[in-house]
């Protein structure tokens, strides 16, 4: 029979060795020596069978504790050393970014590309700027008031079902949300105009919007809209129709025209959908336009008096119109993109085409 094993001494010795280990390799060596197949600990474990039950249980427990203790110490030490080794490796390749020499960076001779949505948005903005509109932006995280309440859509109103909205888990439930359309910017703009003593508004508002739509060939849960708002004296529905027509021919080309048909939106009255000549068949009728020669682009109408009330504009003196449509949809139509999801895949073979 071998001499009884001094477990405490063994633990103390191995801990000291681990503490002084300078590399992860050394840690591995110490661990193998103390806990490996040929270690005294394992040997002691093997000889447990020869002891009486009480003794066996007591020693067995001490051996297990010792193993656990040493393993934990080894792990800590290994992690610390790994971090230090990584730090040393990273430090070894340290740069002083002030040591910039004229030829440090490779100079590219190829051009990248703007995203199709960006070029589409820019072109739309430019068209509207040419027509006398300012370009205004607003926040993507909105309150229930700006996205719905001020737009004549009270809480729990069925009309809210028209927008499947992402709500954020902050504040009271369903009070903070990702805007489902760019219309909240209208409200902010009108509030600002009122606060400034009421000045006329002629603005377009492009931006990113969010709806809980499962992505498919024609829908993305994150998408881009552009919205227009004109509030001035003497603005009429005829002005709206004329503005839409001017925009349509300016952006899509002289042979593309627009028409309005009645629709419902809580924040405009009278309201309309606007359609444009099918850009594919140029109005002769094809599958894309279901043979009608027209495709739907967006919604529009005269600012509803309830919206004017909500922001404090005197609707007797001021009248206004608003319109809105999808930027991504425009891009999809103009470039005949079969599947909208191509826009968010970021495959460079797609991106470099535009």
């Amino acid at each position: 029979m071998t001499a009884p094993l001094d477990v405490d001494a063994l633990v103390a010795e191995a801990s000291a060795a681990l503490a002084s280990a300078g590399t992860t390799d050394e840690v591995r060596q110490v661990t193998t020596a103390a806990l490996g197949k040929r270690s005294p600990l394992v040997a002691a474990h093997r000889s447990l069978g020869g002891l009486d039950p009480d003794e066996r249980r007591a020693l067995g427990r001490r051996l297990d504790d010792a193993r656990r203790t040493l393993e934990a110490i080894a792990d800590d030490r290994r992690r610390a050393l790994e971090a230090a080794e990584l730090e040393a490796a990273l430090l070894a390749e340290r740069l002083d970014l002030g040591e910039e020499l004229p030829d440090r960076a490779r100079s590219p001779l190829s051009r990248g590309a703007l995203h199709l949505v960006t070029t589409t948005r820019d072109a739309l903005e430019d068209t509207f700027v040419g027509m006398g509109f300012e370009v205004v932006e607003g926040p993507e995280v909105e309150t229930d008031w700006y996205n719905f309440g001020a737009l004549n859509i009270p809480p729990a109103h069925p009309a809210r079902g028209m927008w499947d909205t992402f709500y954020l888990a902050v504040g009271e439930p369903e009070t903070v949300l990702l805007r489902a359309h760019t219309s909240p910017v209208q409200v902010r703009l009108m509030e600002a105009a009122v606060a400034a003593g009421m000045s006329p508004i002629h603005a377009v508002m492009p931006g990113r919007c969010y709806r809980r739509d499962t992505p498919d060939a024609r829908h993305l849960p994150v998408f881009h809209q552009v919205e227009g708002l004109v509030v001035d004296e003497g603005i009429t529905f005829a002005d709206l129709a004329g503005t839409i027509e001017t925009f349509t021919t300016a952006y899509f080309g002289p042979e593309i025209h627009s028409r309005l048909r009645p629709a419902f939106f809580p924040f405009t009255e009278p309201s309309a959908e606007f359609e444009i000549t099918c850009t594919l068949c140029r109005g002769t009728g094809c599958r894309t336009c279901s043979g009608t020669g027209w495709i739907e682009l967006g919604g529009c109408g005269m600012v509803d008096p309830a919206v004017f009330d909500a922001v404090g504009i005197d609707g007797e003196r001021w009248t206004g119109f608003a319109f809105g449509f999808g930027i991504d949809r425009c891009a999809q139509m103009r470039h005949q993109i079969a599947d909208m999801r191509s826009l968010v895949e970021n495959d460079v073979r797609f991106l470099r085409q535009f």
């Binding site: 002083d96 990248g112 992402f166 954020l168 002005d239 009278p270 008096p305």
Partner: protein, 830 residues
């Protein structure tokens, strides 16, 4: 909603030009999403009697059949075997064209001439059956149709068109045939004839629970409840024409009682509900709020828990239930009936409910229970509380056709009326209508547009009309907002396409803001650096959030589309890294990508305007091209800074003890700071390389298999692009000297702890007005300089505006620059 043209014609003499009708409906805002032509191409198909069937020599699958088409025997070849001599079958004669454009010609098969074709249901587009020829059944009197009868007549079918009409959410009145007909007739100038059923005897109208039939406990949820008892009902099939109409409209015929209820809903827009009175405890009804946790099994067999507040704003969980005399729920008011009192073959006595339920309450119940029904859709948009009497009378009229000789309507009626919407009366100024529309309508024009829509118009004074809006048009609001609604009606009546178009003009110029212009330039610059613009997800998983290294809390989405993508992105890192990986997996390597977009975090200061979220617009550029590294990112920043005229910037390098923030390489990256307009230093972003562990996770490697470096530039555009936030290079031109310049090369041995930029900056200051530029052109580390130092060699270009610098002046400048660097940085000239 499916609208058969034949059904519409019941109420006004609409013409045959289907395309014109569809266009008119479109122009009324009743958008036709499709038109299905029923029985098209069957005009030439006749009933024929089979007179002889014989084999064809050498053929075992087809037979020679002689049929009588009413005028003569016709010989055809047929491959079906499901008929016998004497049967009546459809014959498509030579020259006819079947649905789908299939032209029938004379053919010769195995020497037998076929003078037409006997047709299956599918060939006639009347059904899916293609097992055999359609054999016509005898009619109810056992008579079989005479040979030569047009097939459609024999089947009791008309050639028809079914429009699929999309009705806007604010037009409950148009969710029925008479409603569509009303709009269409008004536009076309046709007289509308509504069904006028014989009025029911109403000997005594009870308005409460006096007769014990109905008690309404919650008149706010159910403002009107009318009930009738129908006795001696024989439940059976509906008349064929009625069942056919239901089918055309997309509903399945069930039995005469349920069909009559559905028919009336489709015709007049008023949902009704028939109960088997014998299966109602106490034979009576009670209308009340559901108690929290109360349960009902609806007609669809699903058990539903009621009275539970929903997640939506203002949804307090109120459901209106209809209970029997024992208080047990038997229907979900305005949404769906219960299974327990369903009409069945044994039903003899019907308790008929025709009610007006509060729209908002129905909407909430339907949404919360996910239970949208034909009834709920109509009630939540607002039914006509005054349409109930006509609907009940019409239903009784229709049911009397088939309900048997004992059928009768009990004279007593219960009608519990609370606060139902009343006809709105509003003043409409013709001038205001014209001001909104840009038109020149007269008072008469306006009145003429409104009257056919059921509005009562009275001229009060010149230019002012008093309009009474019928209760079936809840979309037209009272004054003052209703004036705009009336303007829309006037516009619809005349046709949007016929309204004038004008082009408004205003003195204010259109423009982009400085920030918008600068953002465009930034994008162009990135593009010019060879980068492609990406658009990556605004949502992130917790792992992706951790990758971004943002220390602020992520904003959680309460109802994410995908459970793991439940956070809003706090950084552009995960998206661009993901895009690099996506392309790498498709063998597009060595890319440069950039993105401009919002990132979100829980606002540490609580936020503002009720939004505890901080949104920042950022620009990020990932440089993973061959040879790209931190230097590329720094060069990119230099270009950006130049374009945006950022005057005064520096990089705070990551050093031991103060590494660059994650997920960047701690010692090959740094924080970019700029001088704010108020002279403070502000952080505008980071520049350097992605941490090698991030790059390794991308699986990006170079040709030799080594993990590559990814240069990274990440900028806060709310700081960088905000006008006035940073000190910028002045716009004034700096004069350029006409005199030759001189270069002075200075190499210093400098301790590693001294940033090279600090040395350059000292040179810049010491060189004064005569200094034109400082360029570092060589860095040396090695045996010729002490350990822990390196040699930095600068070329300083000196020049004066008004003369050529003399050797003495150059020597003096040189000496002072050397002195400044030696004393300022403990460096020594090499």
């Amino acid at each position: 909603m499916r609208v058969p043209l034949s059904w519409l014609r019941e109420y006004a003499p609409f013409g045959d030009d289907v395309d014109a009708l569809a266009q008119t409906l479109d122009d009324l805002g009743l958008v036709v999403e499709g038109a299905e032509r029923i029985g098209e191409g069957l005009g030439d198909v006749v009933v024929a009697e089979v007179v002889e069937i014989g084999p064809i020599e050498g053929a075992d699958r087809i037979r020679r059949v002689v049929v009588d088409d009413g005028t003569r025997p016709v010989e055809v070849v047929c491959g079906a075997w499901n008929f016998a001599v004497g049967d009546r079958v459809p014959l498509a004669p030579v020259g006819s064209v079947l649905p789908g454009g299939f032209a029938i010609g004379r053919r010769k098969l195995r020497g037998v001439v076929s003078d037409g074709m006997l047709c299956s249901s599918r060939e006639l587009a009347l059904g899916d059956d293609h097992q055999g020829i359609l054999v016509l059944a005898p009619d109810d009197d056992g008579e079989r149709p005479a040979p030569g009868t047009p097939l459609l007549a024999a089947l009791g079918l008309e050639a028809d068109v079914v429009f699929d009409v999309a009705v806007e959410a604010n037009r409950p009145d148009a969710l029925c045939m008479t409603g569509v007909a009303r709009d269409l007739a008004a536009r076309l100038g046709l007289q509308l004839a509504l069904p006028e059923p014989p009025p029911l005897a109403a000997a005594a109208v009870a308005t409460g629970d006096a007769d014990g039939l109905v008690a309404v406990e919650s008149p706010d949820l159910c403002p009107r409840f009318a009930a009738r008892v129908l006795t001696g009902v024989a439940v059976g099939p509906s008349p064929r024409w009625l069942a056919r109409r239901l089918e055309l409209a997309g509903m399945r015929p069930i039995n005469n009682v349920v069909d009559a209820s559905n028919y009336v809903m489709l015709e007049l827009g008023q949902p009704t509900h028939p109960y088997d009175r014998d299966r109602l405890a106490g034979g009576r009804l009670e209308v009340r709020r559901a108690r929290p946790g109360e349960r009902i099994v609806t007609l669809d067999g699903v058990e539903r828990v009621l009275g539970q507040p929903g997640p939506g704003l203002g949804d307090t969980g109120e459901d209106c239930v209809i209970c029997d005399g024992s208080g047990a729920p038997v229907a979900l008011g305005g949404v769906m009936g219960g299974a327990s009192s369903e009409i069945g073959p044994e039903t003899r006595t019907v308790l008929l409910e025709a009610a007006y339920f509060a729209p908002l309450a129905v909407a909430r119940t339907a949404k919360r229970l996910g239970l949208r029904t034909e009834a709920s859709v109509r009630f939540e948009r607002g039914c006509d509380p005054e349409g109930i009497d006509r609907a009940v009378a019409r239903l009784c009229e229709l049911l009397a056709l088939t309900a048997g000789p004992d059928f009768s309507v009990e004279p007593g009626a219960t009608d519990v009326r609370g606060d139902v919407p009343r006809p709105a009366r509003l003043r409409v100024r013709t001038g205001r209508v014209n001001a909104l529309l840009g038109t020149g309508f007269s008072d008469e024009d306006v009145a003429g547009a409104l009257a056919p829509l059921g509005m009562d118009v009275e001229a009060v004074e010149d230019g002012v009309l008093e309009v009474t809006v019928p209760t079936f048009r809840p979309d037209i609001r009272p004054a003052p907002h209703g004036e705009a609604d009336v303007a829309e009606e006037v516009a619809r009546a005349s046709g949007y396409s016929l309204l004038p178009r004008t082009r408004p003009a205003w003195p204010q110029p259109g423009r982009l803001t400085a920030r918008q212009r600068d953002r465009r330039r930034l994008r162009e610059v990135a593009c010019g650096l060879g980068a492609f613009e990406a658009w990556t997800s605004a949502f992130a998983t917790p792992e992706e959030h951790a990758l971004g290294g943002v220390t602020l809390d992520a904003v959680e989405v309460a109802n994410p589309l995908a459970a793991d993508e439940r956070l809003l992105r706090a950084s552009l890192v995960p998206g661009l890294v993901g895009a690099l990986r996506y392309n790498e997996e498709r063998r597009s390597s060595g890319l440069r990508l950039f993105e401009v977009g919002s990132v979100f975090a829980v606002a540490p200061d609580g936020g503002s305007g009720g939004v505890p979220v901080r949104t920042t617009e950022r620009f990020a550029l990932a440089l993973a091209g061959p040879g790209d590294d931190a230097w590329s990112a720094l060069a990119a920043w230099r270009v950006v800074a130049d374009v945006l005229r950022v005057a005064d910037w520096s990089v705070r390098h990551g050093v031991p003890g103060r590494p660059a923030p994650s997920p960047l390489h701690p010692f090959r990256s740094g924080v970019l700071t700029c001088r704010a307009a108020g002279r403070d230093l502000v952080e505008v972003g980071v520049v350097g390389e992605l941490h090698p562990q991030v790059t390794a996770s991308l699986g990006l490697s170079d040709a030799s298999g080594r993990s590559i470096r990814v240069g990274w530039l990440d900028l806060d555009l709310d700081v960088l692009l905000e006008p006035g936030s940073l000190s910028r290079r002045p716009e004034q031109a700096v004069p350029v000297s006409r005199f030759p310049s001189s270069d002075v090369d200075l190499a210093f041995v400098v301790d590693e702890t001294v940033p090279a930029a600090a040395v350059a900056s000292t040179l810049l200051d010491a060189g004064g007005a005569e200094l034109e530029s400082v360029t570092l052109f060589d860095v040396y580390r090695g045996p010729s300089v002490p350990e822990g130092t390196r040699s930095l060699a600068y070329r300083v270009r000196l020049c004066a505006l008004d003369h050529t610098l003399t050797d003495a002046e150059l020597a003096e400048l040189r000496a002072s620059m050397i002195a400044a660097v030696e004393s300022g940085h403990g460096a020594s000239l090499r």
